[in-house]
């Protein structure tokens, strides 16, 4: 049934190819991005939430 439905679109055969290409490129780019990110930068980023000025005496609140 779905073949009949989809055959009504012109050049339907290209759709799965486009989908695959979008997917492939998306994840390749993502992997490339992640793998080529420098360690120093990653470290800088992951410290962002922790580097807040005043409050960071967690010790006080956590001690209770």
């Amino acid at each position: 049934m779905y073949k009949n439905v989809l055959q009504n679109i012109d050049n339907i055969a290209i759709w799965p190819v486009i989908s695959f290409v979008i997917f492939f490129l998306f994840f390749i780019c993502l992997l490339w991005w992640v793998l080529t990110t420098k360690k120093a930068f990653i470290e800088e980023m992951e410290r962002l939430p922790l580097e807040n000025s005043i409050e960071e005496d967690n010790s006080k609140v956590n001690k209770l």
Binding site: L6, N8, L30, T37, F41, L48, K63
Partner: protein
């Protein structure tokens, strides 16, 4: 560079926290009421404003938009200022956002019990409120993007990415799903019909879960979990993958809410495939959260904040594994329309959202009031009450879902249904409904303890309305260091490009699903003898919507033998072409109604609506006595016909002038048939319209056994 002095706005965070706690308690209390109503129908109070059909959407809206929504804004406003080292862009916008959102909630709390609803799940609010939501959401986004632009921190931490995705996607979802044709000030018809309406609705529904209940909370997890554990996130690289693959994949999965329905097969399969793929990013995120606690597990034993977070992140992992499994067609065949789904959403709602909110509140309130938590012991009691509450809620619902589903499908050796009467399967699971209410009650008690604890905490400290901070401004001319890499130069410090890319990532899935469904006519084979509803039936349908019947009754017979035996011919896409909105439903607390038409007499329906348990002993359906007293509002018939014609129902030109005459003719007929059975009722009573609609349901294809299906 010289440091600039500024302050973080804690006042707006405080306002959102107070709203979170108040609406959280209210939303849970309403949910508990709904749970009790299912065990003891007397708690529907025989009052039209408090029946389950109206209370249930009130509960879901209160929890999603008031409790989780307000907590999201509190978390976003708190973390965003600190991550970007700046005050929010505009205090005025912050307060417009706050008060606007609370007004929307109040409007919802008034209109839903009044029965003013579109009936589309989690999008029930009528069109004027939809417009208000749009405006306030834009204010929120404007404030957020403004803050990002005036930031003092060059890099955008991953939490900010999740917030941007939330803003963009919820805006798109809300706009597309809320296209509707106003009839009166508080009544509208969905622009889409039947299958298309269902596809749009569940594309919305699924992604509302994704981008309202999940992405903002993931952002908050990536901020508050490292803060509470006092160590950086386990893998920042993993969080990048988590973010992009999650937002890219999530948007495709909506059709898994419509498996075995009349939605075209290819769209269903697409939904399944993407749901399975979603396990990867979701579990990547969960592991990233849990692994952040490496080396700090000893503190989890003592710190209630970490305890709540661990259970929250674990619940996220459980729910995001269960979701994809539920979207496998073989599992879905058992679970769909049952309490299994209710258990699933509550693991997410109570576990992931609820516990994450509690953790953040316990962490943030002592800091904002410059003090320590009033009682750690009480917080631990809350933790155990909440955890037990989740277990007492979820387990009975799992058992109830599977038991009922198996009963629905059980055949005897002769090939007949064992439980021919739907009610037998309901009675079987009522004790489990009772247990569920206990679970909900425990959870609510825990939340009340938290409220007390937080108030005492705040009382013991001094509120820091403006928290002083200092940071260097961003240099005007910025050259990214080589260290940062290409992606940073082109993307991570350019919020506008980033936002556009996010938009593209979420649009791809939606477009590929929807364009074919809308453009290809043959996706919905037309059935020539399916005709528009008569004016009386339109009124009846609107009463059905008003009373929230869709909350317990589906109109979608799936192509299983167990269903065609019980209900009749399975539902075809072409039967719904005039359904604005679609009323397929998502839960069968009562039986399916798609083939109810002409199954019972008019007097059966009359008596059943008046006293359900007199007609079906031990039925848990509430009575609807007001339908017998209130009259059909004929003054809006014209507007209804006009609006429906505008959205594509082929009423002849000028029919709006004759509609009421037709309506009266049909209602006289029903009234006469009732009279023959000894029931004297005015033809203007609302019950007449409802009977007309119920008797019409699903009979069009019965008219001629050889339905002329045009491919």
């Amino acid at each position: 560079m010289e440091l600039e002095k500024f302050s973080y706005d804690n006042k707006i965070v405080k306002a959102f926290i107070i709203a979170t706690v108040i609406f959280g308690l209210v939303g849970m209390l309403v949910g508990l009421t709904a749970a009790i109503q299912l065990v003891y129908p007397i708690f529907n109070f025989e009052n039209q404003y408090t029946t389950f059909g109206r209370i249930r959407p009130l509960h879901t809206n209160a929890i999603i938009f008031a409790f989780v929504g307000n907590a999201m804004f509190a978390g976003v406003y708190y973390s965003m200022q600190r991550l970007l080292k700046t005050r929010m862009y505009s205090d005025t916008l912050s307060w417009i956002h706050f008060w606007g959102w609370q007004l929307i909630i109040v409007a919802a709390a008034i209109t839903l019990p009044l029965g003013l609803t579109t009936s589309k799940e989690y999008a029930e609010l009528e069109w004027p409120i939809d417009i208000a939501i749009t405006i306030i959401w834009v204010v929120f986004g404007w404030n957020m993007i403004g803050t990002i632009i005036k930031r003092r921190e060059r890099h955008m931490y991953v939490a900010i990415w999740f917030y941007i995705a939330t803003f963009i996607t919820v805006a798109v979802l809300h706009l597309v799903n809320s296209v509707e044709m106003p009839v009166t000030m508080f009544k509208s018809y969905s622009w889409y019909a039947g299958v298309q309406d269902a596809l749009v609705q569940w594309w919305y529904g699924h992604n509302a879960v994704a981008f309202f209940l999940t992405t903002p909370y993931l952002g908050m997890m990536y901020y508050f979990l490292p803060k509470a554990a006092n160590r950086p996130v386990y893998s920042y690289r993993l969080s990048i993958i988590h973010f992009w693959s999650l937002i890219f994949l999530y948007i495709w999965a909506g059709p898994h809410h419509l498996l075995y329905t009349s939605l075209p097969d290819w769209a269903q399969s697409l939904g399944v495939v993407f749901s399975i793929m979603l396990i990867a990013p979701s579990w990547g995120g969960m592991l990233n959260g849990l692994m952040t606690l490496r080396g700090a597990w000893d503190r989890v034993r003592e710190d209630p904040v970490l305890k709540f977070m661990v259970v929250a992140v674990t619940a996220y992992g459980m729910a995001t594994l269960e979701g994809p499994l539920l979207s496998l067609k073989n599992v879905n065949a058992i679970a769909h329309f049952t309490d299994w789904i209710v258990a699933h959403v509550h693991v997410g709602g109570l576990g992931w959202n609820g516990f994450m909110i509690f953790a953040i509140l316990y962490w943030v309130v002592p800091r904002m009031w410059g003090t320590t938590l009033h009682s750690r012991k009480l917080a631990n009691v809350h933790f155990w009450l909440g955890t037990l509450g989740i277990i007492f809620y979820a387990l009975p619902m799992y058992v109830s879902g599977v038991v009922q589903s198996l009963m629905w499908k059980e055949f005897n050796a002769e090939g007949f249904l064992v439980y021919k009467n739907f009610l037998e399967t309901t009675v079987q699971i009522l004790p489990l409904y009772g247990l569920r209410a206990i679970g909900g009650g425990l959870y609510l008690v825990g939340a009340i303890l938290m409220t007390y604890n937080l108030i005492k905490t705040a009382r013991s400290g001094d509120f820091i309305a403006d928290e002083d901070a200092e940071a260097a401004p961003l240099a005007k001319e910025y050259v990214a260091s080589r260290n940062a890499g290409w992606h940073h130069r082109v993307l991570e410090h350019k919020p506008v490009i980033f936002t556009v890319l996010t938009l593209i990532a979420i649009l791809i899935g939606g477009l590929i699903e929807m364009i074919p469904t809308f453009l290809i006519k043959s996706n919905i084979p037309t059935i020539s003898n399916v005709k528009p509803y008569t004016p009386l039936e339109v009124h009846g349908r609107d009463i059905y919507i008003r009373e929230g019947c869709v909350n317990c009754h589906t109109q979608m017979v799936r192509p299983f033998r167990s269903e065609t035996e019980r209900y009749g011919e399975y539902s075809k896409a072409g039967e719904f072409v005039y359904d604005h909105p679609f009323l397929w439903g998502s839960k069968r607390t009562g039986p399916d109604l798609h083939r109810i038409g002409e199954k019972y007499s008019n007097s059966w329906h009359y008596n059943h609506m008046l006293a359900p348990d007199a007609v079906s002993t031990s039925s848990i359906m509430p009575a609807y006595p007001w339908l017998f007293e209130q009259s059909i509002d004929k003054s809006v018939t014209r507007a209804k016909i006009n609006a429906l014609r505008t959205v594509g129902v082929p009423y002849a030109a000028g029919y709006e002038n004759e509609a009421n005459a037709d309506l009266e003719k049909q209602s006289e007929k029903i009234s006469a048939s009732l009279k023959a059975d000894g029931i004297d009722v005015s033809p203007d009573a609302e019950i007449i319209a409802l009977i007309a609609y119920l008797q019409r349901l699903g009979i069009d294809i019965k008219a001629k056994p050889t339905a002329n299906v045009q491919e």
